[in-house]
Amino acid sequence: MRLHADRFWFNTLGYILVGLFALVCLLPFWLVITGSFMTQESITLHGYTFWPSEWSLGAYKLLGETSAGFIRAYGITIVVTAIGTTVGLLVTTMTAYVLNCKDFRQRNYVAFYFYFTTLFSGGLVPWYIMMVKYLHMKNSILALILPPMLSVFYILIMRSFIAAIPEAIRESATVDGAGDFTIFTRLILPLLKPALATIGLFIALHYWNDWFNTMMFIDNEKIYNLQYYLYQVLSKMEFLNQAAAQAGIATTANMPSDAYKMAMTLVTTGPILLLYPFVQRYFVQGITVGAVKG
């Protein structure tokens, strides 16, 4: 098709405006990357800049030397994400499946039981007291695994994914005498692979980026997760000095502590940036399904 003048101008406008916004979106990442390669000297002298006057690996070297706590935090996040996502995804899908069974007449009441929690909540204080005083979650890794596990929103999105599966498939299996759990595991789950990937990724992202639950419930440095560890590095100067002392490194004025903050930020986000090109389409799909549902 020939490109008309109006189309040309509209597209040019699009490239400029969207391009500018995209630039703004990417710029902070660039600043973190360059910041992580600067020497403490040049940061003290010029501050963080768009292009370092000299490139240095000092911050990454320091990161390697003080990595014990950081690697443990990485491990905590990986374990919590893996367990939480697996269990959360299974329960979400199971629940969504039952909410779709037309022969289960009470399903709308059950759906409302879940839905109501999005309309009204007791607020943070009773929740916190419940977690700490009655469930004894203080300094327990369960405090990191349980709160992000289920979300009504994901159950509802999963329900619309399942609703797209022809009812006839389930009916014919029921006639053949298959029970609900068999139908769920043998018939429905295999058909749901893209949906499982979508919702699973949403849940996993939530776990990966969580720091709030650590702040609320964890005092023990040994079970800090990755984001909270980064938060400590960013907000407390002593935190790096402590880690250095534990690794047997003398704290000096030249220690690249400000580049270290940026290097730490980058390694924390690294896995997400690397996976992003491959997983993005699943998120787009999830949002689109949510959009259609309204």
């Binding site: 008309h4 189309r7 509209f10 597209n11 699009g14 490239y15 405006l17 969207v18 391009g19 916004f21 995209a22 630039l23 979106c25 990417l26 902070p28 600043l31 973190v32 010029h46 501050g47 963080y48 800049t49 768009f50 329960v91 199971m94 629940t95 499946y97 039952v98 069974c101 007449r105 039981y113 879940f114 009204f120 909540s121 007791g122 607020g123 943070l124 204080v125 009773p126 929740w127 916190y128 007291i129 005083k133 009655y134 289920l150 159950i155 609900d180 990966w208 980026n209 702040m215 980064l230 938060y231 960013l234 940026m262 930020t265 986000t269 992003y276 993005q280 998120f283 949002i287 689109t288």
Partner: protein, 308 residues
Amino acid sequence: MNTMNKGFWWELKKHKIKLLMLLPAVIYFFVFNYLPMAGIIIAFKRYDYVGGIFGSPWVGFENFRYFIESGQLWHITKNTVLYNLVFLLVNNLLEIVMAILLAEMAGKYIRKFLQSAIFLPYFISWVVVSAFVYNVFNYEYGSLNSLLASFGMDSVDVYSKPTAWVFILIFFSAWKTVGYGTVFYLAAIMGIDSETYEAAEMDGANIFQRVRHITLPALIPTAVILLMLSLGGIVKGDFQMFYQIVGDNGLVYNTTDVIDTFVVRSMLTIQEFGMPAAAGLYQSVVSLILIVTVNYLVRKAEKDLALF
């Protein structure tokens, strides 16, 4: 249906596997959502750790009285509502513009690249955003001041300027959510019947006219309904964003404190539970009233778009 009169036990037996499959989620929401709802009575008590939720002494409306008389109620409600209104307007406007421009974009690869770029911030944790804030605005080493210095201008100490944070918050809210919302509006544009466009093109309408007379009118009702539905959440501040961007900087609480940051701060630093519980209950009740009202109005206007 003859199942109607077969009774409760028959139903229970028939659906026992289904009920078992529902059980984990039912228990989960009972423990983490419904039990804390019962705990809101703490808003009417003076909390002590030993007594817990049920054993602490009643104080009537004391917590609410203190919350109102300290001036906090009005102050944080105003901040929360104003921020949310601005976020809603700015973000939705940007999202609609981005979605329309992207939908019409000719180059397939550049479109994919640009869309990926603006969607990327959605995947980043707020802690990482706080590293960005530190990198850019930090007084001594921030890249903003580096840039100003290279032009021979004076450094700015953003941390002591309350109004600056209003714009920083608006900026990062857009930065983080516009990509997500754009996907939403793109889906709505894809839902427009392509025949309408073809017919318009046949009649000689140019692209600006098509956007003006077909795309926008198709998106505006969706946008209005979306905005209305978001009104239910207008008294809820995004704690993670406010806390990570502003931090514990008491100098700027006047312009940056929202209900949620106030609640967490009172709880974790002052170890006071009664007043923040009262603030939380106030927030939940106002929010519920708003949701129900708005939903009633949406239902009247466009039944399919109502939430319930």
